[in-house]
């Protein structure tokens, strides 16, 4: 269960992890205090463990900075939902164990109480009493996420294998 924090379309990695905090990239807990600051200044101080970031189209566009999904996760966020994701952000989120879920976010409003069930592929909106289904990840990404991210995946398998059982 978590609260929905709504964001618009085209949330860039500069909005998530601004260049003016570049010097905090090796101090992630400090950087996380500024997560999404230029998009919504109330997010970082207000987010609670289990809350959900809800974007529109093309969430995470721009740079390759993996710090962007890392600090969203570090802030306590359970998952990021969006109508679509920029490619690098999407892959980064899965690699660091943050569920990035493609779903029709127009049906979710600010403050809705959400429950994300990765196994069933359903977002329950408890406030509205509706279920939003989402397609499963490609198998290789699903396994990386299940195992807790790419670091754990490599440690578990000792190699990069895409057809592991």
């Amino acid at each position: 269960m978590g609260r929905a924090w709504k964001f618009g379309d085209n949330i860039s990695t500069d909005l998530i992890a601004a260049g003016r905090y570049y010097h905090l990239r090796s101090n992630l807990p400090e950087l996380a205090k500024h997560v999404l600051e230029d998009a919504r200044a109330d997010f970082a101080p207000g987010v609670k463990a289990g809350d959900v970031v809800v974007g529109g189209r093309n969430f995470g566009k721009g740079s390759s900075r993996e710090h962007a999904p890392v600090i969203i996760k570090l802030a306590g966020t359970r998952a990021v939902l969006a109508k679509s994701f920029a490619r690098i952000f999407y892959r980064n989120a899965i690699n660091i164990g943050l569920p990035a879920i493609v779903v029709d976010t127009d049906r979710i409003d600010e403050g809705d109480d959400l429950d994300v069930d990765l196994e069933k592929g359903v977002v329950h909106d408890r406030t509205k009493g509706i279920d939003l289904t989402f397609p499963s990840l490609p198998p290789v990404m699903a396994r990386i996420l299940e195992e807790g991210g790419l670091v754990e995946y490599i440690k578990n398998h000792g190699d990069l294998v895409v057809d592991a059982p």
Binding site: G19, H23, G62, I88, L160
Partner: protein, 419 residues
């Protein structure tokens, strides 16, 4: 079976088997690199994986370019960590003053027909070499460095067929801004933007690089172009003609989409804030005559020697307008030295410019040209998001070096065809 696209060819070669768009594959990585903003996290991930090694040290490069020289002790300490890690693993170090990773990689390391993975989104510029070049996050690049391979979904290709000749004052930057304006910042998400056609064949390498560089600005996974005689000339000029080989898509390749652009009628374009697809011709009343406080000639997109040359050809003899600052950051030491030796620094300094050492400079908003509250910047860079140049209360307009020069002279956004 239809023929193969350029990416299908390169990724088949790198996979050691025939692959097609949509296939998931493990590809050999021929070149992997990080920069100082992404490298520390990459190396910490390698430590966590227990893989403090480079599969191919001579083809693994650590670039110090984004905060170079470092403006803060935290960043200087990141650089210490990067240098130590490079020494420990035998990776190549490109230190302070060498230039932007993608530019230096292009001059020295990227090869036609190979796979280049960089922990920076503008790695896509390597596509102009006829390579498969793409940006990834720190952990993916950690794996690529340590194991010399990566997993990929072979992208569908969108073919851009370019014909015609550019009019005076119009450049590749104007073409790519026009394309991004047409297809929007997520128009090519997950896709390869493959360039071809007679206008590309005639285009010098430095201009081709602009097109591949900004593929990411349309969401593209890569922006490959054929490797041809111009590619060979570029490599010869850089003392590595032996790296050249021809790479072309098959005539009967299957493209997911195709678009045709005739550059003949193209005008100089400007991307307004807050993103790269908010594009209008320079003649549009929303931009023409707009007061500009800072002109920035910098970045991997448009700060090569040739860009500085174009800028100076427009500026020659003129000073920067009162109330406008001109900041120039050459993309690499090669560009810096050549511009200096050919007297272009004199032209710039006489005009009133500030010249920074090679690197990313003001583009990613770390230092060396952060605009003030309410200020407008006309920049030859690639992104104009809120906060991109370090201040969420400033506004960035993207354009070509020619438009930047015309704008610097008058202090307002100016059509380079009118100066």
């Amino acid at each position: 079976m239809p023929g193969k696209t350029l990416v299908e060819k390169v990724l088949s070669h790198a996979s050691g088997r025939e692959v097609r768009a949509g296939d998931i594959t493990i590809a050999r990585v021929d070149l992997a690199y990080v920069q100082d903003g992404t490298g520390p996290l990459t190396f910490r991930q390698m430590e966590k994986m227990g893989l403090v090694k480079a599969a191919n040290p001579a083809r693994s490069v650590v670039f110090i370019d984004h905060s170079s020289p470092p403006p803060r002790k935290e960043l200087a300490s990141d650089h210490v960590y990067l240098r130590d890690f490079a020494t420990k693993t035998g990776m190549v170090l490109s230190d302070v003053g060498e230039g932007v990773c993608h530019q230096v990689a292009f001059e020295k390391y990227v090869r036609p027909g190979e796979v280049a993975i960089g922990a920076d989104s503008h790695t896509v510029m390597g596509g102009a070499m006829g390579a498969f070049a793409t940006g990834m996050g720190s952990t993916d690049v950690a794996v690529a460095l340590a194991l010399g391979k990566t997993w990929l979904r072979v992208p569908e290709s969108w073919r851009f067929e370019v014909t015609g000749s550019f009019a005076h004052g119009v450049y590749a930057k104007d073409l790519i801004l026009r394309v991004i304006g047409d297809i929007k910042t997520d128009g090519a998400t997950y896709m390869a933007m493959e360039w071809g056609g007679p206008a590309i064949s005639r285009m010098p390498m430095t201009e081709r690089m602009v097109l591949s560089n900004m593929a990411i600005e349309a969401g593209g996974k890569c922006g490959p172009q054929p490797s041809d005689e111009e590619t060979r000339r570029y490599l010869r000029e850089h003392g590595r003609e032996a790296d050249w080989r021809e790479v072309r898509p098959d005539e009967d390749a299957r493209y997911e989409r195709t678009s045709a652009y005739d550059v003949g009628p193209l005008e100089p374009m400007v991307a307004r804030p807050p993103q790269e697809d908010n594009v209008v011709p320079v003649t549009d009343p929303s931009v023409k005559g707009l007061r500009i406080h800072q002109v920035y000639l910098g970045s991997c997109t448009n700060a090569r020697y040739e860009d500085i040359r174009v800028f100076c050809d427009y500026m020659r003899g003129e000073a920067v307008a009162k109330g406008t600052r001109l900041i120039v950051t050459p993309a690499s030491k090669e560009s810096y030295v050549r511009a200096m030796k050919e007297g272009l620094f004199g032209v710039l300094l006489d005009a009133g410019a500030t010249i920074n050492s090679p690197g990313c400079g003001a583009c990613p908003g770390v230092h060396l040209g952060i605009p003030g509250d309410g200020e407008n910047v006309l920049s030859t860079t690639n992104r104009n998001y809120v906060g991109r140049m370090g201040n969420p209360l400033a506004f960035t307009y993207l354009a070509s070096p020619a438009t930047a020069a015309a704008t610097a002279m008058y202090g307002v956004i100016t059509d380079p065809r009118e100066v």
